[in-house]
């Protein structure tokens, strides 16, 4: 077992809240997000999600929890062989929903994030900003209770970064708890919100 990346961390995320998760590169922001997503198991300690301890749950029972969360990966992680539309519709498709039932909703969301004309494109021909928005749309389509976004403005110009931030704020007002992992101070200065600051494996809340 290697050194502990995160230790003595204690925090909670309230419903409909908005917060930044920040800290220098390599501080463990992505690790913390992966812990919340249950893509990693903590070596010790507890992770409570939606009122239940999930740190010791079997992998097969994690699916229901994951369906309540949306995630925007730093590297987008769109499936390259699927179109933008198919990527965004993925969370609904894995629920076994009929395509006819969600088509209008997906198209509407794609237009909302400005990808209405790019829905047939595959990720390889999209710009960084378009990929980012597709990844965000995929995270939103299932109307999650918690949205985790890892460096969502890391690959876009400041103008688009501001627009994306506004998108997340809008989501929060519509009822989703939002956690944005970023080390972009300029972004955080645009909208004041509590900051979960990670440094040397420890976390403190900067309200």
């Amino acid at each position: 077992m290697g050194p502990e990346v995160l230790k003595d961390i204690n925090f909670s995320i309230a419903p409909r809240s908005f917060q930044y998760l920040t800290g220098p590169s390599g501080a463990g922001k992505t690790t913390l997000i992966r812990l919340i997503l249950m893509a990693l198991k903590p070596t010790r300690g507890l992770v409570h999600l939606f009122g239940q301890d999930v740190s010791r749950l079997e992998a097969t029972t994690l699916t229901d929890f994951r369906r309540k969360m949306g995630v925007v990966f730093q590297d987008f992680r769109l499936l390259d062989h699927l179109t933008v539309y198919e990527n965004v519709a993925l969370p609904l498709r894995v629920l076994g929903k009929e395509e006819a039932g969600y088509r209008a909703e997906v198209v509407e969301l794609l237009r909302w994030v400005g990808l209405g004309e790019r829905m047939h494109a595959v990720p390889s021909v999209l710009s960084g900003g378009e990929k980012q928005r597709a990844a965000i749309a995929r995270a939103l389509i299932s109307r999650p209770q918690l949205l985790l976004a890892d460096e969502p403005t890391g690959n876009v110009d400041p103008g688009l970064g501001r627009r994306l931030l506004r998108l997340f704020m809008e989501l929060q007002t519509l009822g989703t708890a939002v956690v944005i992992a970023t080390h972009d101070l300029a972004l955080m200065e645009q909208y004041d919100a509590p900051r979960l600051v990670l440094a040397d494996g420890h976390l403190h809340v900067d309200a």
């Binding site: 699927l82 198919e86 993925l90 894995v94 909302w112 109307r143 519509l174």
Partner: protein, 329 residues
Amino acid sequence: MSTPDWRAEPAEQDEEDEGFVQPKSRLPVNLRRDQPLVPVDTVAGRALVVVIAILTFLAALSAGGALMAARASEQWRGAVANEMTIQVRPDPRRNIEADLARAAELARAVPGVASVRAVPRTESDKLLEPWLGAGLDLIELPVPRLIVLRLNAAAASDLVAFSQTLRREVPSATLDDHRLWVRRLSTMANTIILAGVAIVMLVLVAAALAVAFATRGAMAGSRDSVEVLHLVGADDEFIAREFQNRFITLGLRGGGAGGLAAVVVIALLGWLASAWSATPEADQLQAMFGAFEIGWSGYGVVVLVAVIVAAIAGLVSRVTVRHYLKAMS
């Protein structure tokens, strides 16, 4: 907690958002391209289709061969089981016609014998024609004569006693009840059938192994996709089903191609056999092995083999994926 509704409440637009929210247009009708969620590398996929096609072709040919042997064996049994022959050999010290008549008379007295027919001389000579050629005067040759007995299937006959009586009364006559031949031919046919079934089973196992390895390769290549699917809410069952559907499609494609090739080859051989059937050699072969055709049931078996191969491809990939996902978690 209320849910976000981008349909009722579009994003607030300001100057910066120009071009971000686009005007509504008519909904495209063919959005989904039905792409499988887990891509199976096309080169590996094509290779697997070819392997499955070859294996199905071999399995279908083996199954067809076994079926043909079974049909031929059935024909022999039906044709000879209810028939016996008495062979009367020419003996210069005896009158062959008198022996023939005496043997026929003895045969008629045996219970269970339905009919007795002494094969006329001209007919016996004709039987030798394929070997000796037509137009020969065989009167000088010591050609044996035959009496064909048809047995009543329902009644039991004491053939051992009849054989002894015949030998005693007509020393130049022997009874051939064909059962030894039927037994030998049946054993041979059963061996062919068993070998055919064994080959089909081996080929199915080979197909299963090929699919298992291909699935593992596809899983390793799709590790990222699988993780994304997990994180957007797919459970193991869903992912296994996606792989299974993909491999059933590949299995059906390979199985279909192999099965079709087998059907074409069997039909072609059947056509060649019928074109060749005018020759005496072909008549002999047909008498021995039956007609070179597998019938509709045979073609049904070939299709069944292809379907089984596809089903095995789906099942094996599913089991492999579940196993792999368990190991991953």
